[in-house]
């Protein structure tokens, strides 16, 4: 079964003056466990697409199924994780309490179990921020905050992880390191990831496929398979000539649609 399937999907916003279509005619099949990166000019509908998959927004027309079900079913089963562009940690909760939010929202006041505490510790370790459990978000750097947001999204072991420019605000070194960690997490968990970015390098480095969206009219402009240029477990060298070529090819596509 595919992780995400869409047919003739139109998405956008309903307004008092009629619907405003953002992306139309989206036909996509994303395999279970795939890492798909999404590029496109600002305002073309990348975030909107993720919002439809996460059941934050109803499609205007067409079909979408997530893990063979309606997005709302998958959402209520907690099988979708979302990482926002700004980390969106709740400032009054410690790192630990932020990551445990999914448990507390789900189980009411039965509270946090020892196994949950253990899982928080493991996640922080996996993301290289062990020992920060008791800190408040204000006491973290931007990179640390983004890692905590990823830990929270991973906490309920989602089958689908949606990431909206999660590393956009970070310096290049931190971003590269987090890319590496994210790939590790992905290899270990087998989660399907949809990852929006403005960096061509990041898109190529992370994705097994890269999707390029265009604006006016919004639609899928290109869907480029990178499996030929990468190892089976999705590794590549940034300076590999095949990868460099790919990047300039994608840059041309992007320039045409921007």
């Amino acid at each position: 079964m595919n992780a995400i399937e869409t047919k003739a999907l139109n998405i956008g916003y309903r307004g008092p003056k009629g619907d405003q279509t953002v992306l139309s005619g989206v036909d996509l099949s994303i395999a279970d466990g795939e890492f798909l990166t999404i590029l496109g000019p600002s305002g073309c509908g990348k975030s909107t697409l993720l919002r439809v998959v996460a059941d934050l927004l109803e499609p205007l027309a067409g079909d979408i199924s997530v893990l063979g079900e309606d997005p709302s079913v998958i959402r209520s089963r907690r099988q979708v994780g979302f990482v926002f562009q700004e980390s969106t940690l709740l400032p009054w909760r410690t790192v630990e309490a932020n990551i445990e939010l999914p448990v507390q929202v789900g189980r009411g006041r039965t509270g946090v179990r020892d196994s949950d505490r253990k899982r928080v510790k493991d996640l922080l370790e996996m993301l290289g921020i062990a020992g920060l459990e008791k800190r408040y978000p204000k006491q973290l750097s931007g990179g640390q905050r983004q890692r905590v947001a990823i830990a929270r999204a991973l906490f309920s072991e989602p089958r689908i992880l949606l990431m909206d420019e999660p590393f956009g605000a970070l310096d290049e070194i931190t971003r590269d390191r987090l890319n590496e960690e994210l790939l590790d997490v992905w290899r270990r968990t087998g989660t399907t990831i949809l990852f929006v970015t403005h960096s061509i390098m990041e898109a190529v480095y992370l994705g097994q496929r890269v999707m390029v969206l265009g604006a006016n009219p919004g639609r899928v402009m290109a869907l480029r398979d990178l499996k030929g240029q990468k190892t089976p477990d999705n590794r590549c060298a940034r300076e590999d000539p095949a990868i460099v070529n790919l990047m300039s090819e994608l840059r041309k596509t992007l320039e045409q649609v921007s």
Partner: protein
């Protein structure tokens, strides 16, 4: 050194210089003590007549604190109702707005007419005067969660209950506390205004009596105590705020 100057020396020196000037320049300028007594004169009156002051302070303390608690609690509850029910908000917010335009000095006699001369009417005046700013702040606070935060809870399939306790209420606390800080001073004002209009007890009553009897040291003593009361309430609220909003 510079920071010591700014954080300790300057804040102490400023008020101290004014008190010293008041103490020594006022008599030199020939202002008689029945118009403006010196700081030592006021302190002396407070010490000599302490039983009288203490008796009256307690009345005002009880009225101000009870009014503060009742007024703010009512405002918080009404804010919750308004935020969850647009029709009720549309129907009754204008009414609240109208009542807010009535000056307390005009409202106080009516409240005393209705509730008599005991503590109750003063508590109600204090509560009324705290009510509106907290209502407005609390409504804004409860609505202040960002759309990302709301979406985060939606993705977790949060119930309305979770939404309230884990997002909207904690989100509102900074705004609630900023209005509680202001309410400490207004609650004391409300209690004193209530006492002016109909009471023989409390700092407000003392102020009126002292004014009519030209007992200016007593008048100034009562003024010092009422601002002391506001400051004490303010510091309590700040301490609670520090505790509740540790993360800020």
């Amino acid at each position: 050194m510079n920071s010591l100057l700014r954080s300790v020396i300057a804040p102490v020196f400023g008020p101290l210089s004014i008190i010293l000037a008041w103490q020594y320049l006022v008599p030199i300028a020939g202002i008689p003590p029945y118009i403006l007594p010196t700081p030592t004169g006021i302190a002396g009156a407070l010490a000599n007549q302490w039983p009288l002051f203490a008796d009256n302070v307690w009345t005002t303390v009880i009225e101000a604190i009870a009014g503060f608690l009742i007024g703010n609690l009512a405002a918080v509850l009404m804010a919750v109702v308004f935020v969850y029910s647009a029709p009720i908000r549309a129907a009754y917010f204008p009414v609240v707005l109208f009542f807010n335009t009535i000056p307390v000095l005009a409202l106080a006699p009516i409240i005393i007419l209705i509730f008599g001369l005991g503590l109750t009417p003063k508590i109600i005046v204090a509560a009324v005067i705290c009510f509106f700013p907290t209502l407005v702040n609390m409504i804004r606070g409860l609505d202040s969660a960002s759309s990302n935060e709301r979406e985060l809870l939606h993705i977790l399939s949060a119930t309305p209950w979770d939404n309230f306790w884990r997002l909207r209420l904690p989100r509102s606390l900074p705004m609630l506390f900023s209005s509680l800080r202001i309410a400490t001073a207004t609650a004391v004002i409300g209690a004193i205004v209530g006492e002016w209009i109909g009471s023989d007890k409390g700092l407000g009553a003392l102020i009126i009596q002292a004014t009519y009897n030209y007992q200016s040291d007593r008048l100034y003593g009562a003024i010092v105590l009422s601002s002391g009361l506001s400051i004490a309430l303010f510091l309590i609220v700040v301490a609670v705020e520090k505790l509740v909003l540790r993360h800020e």
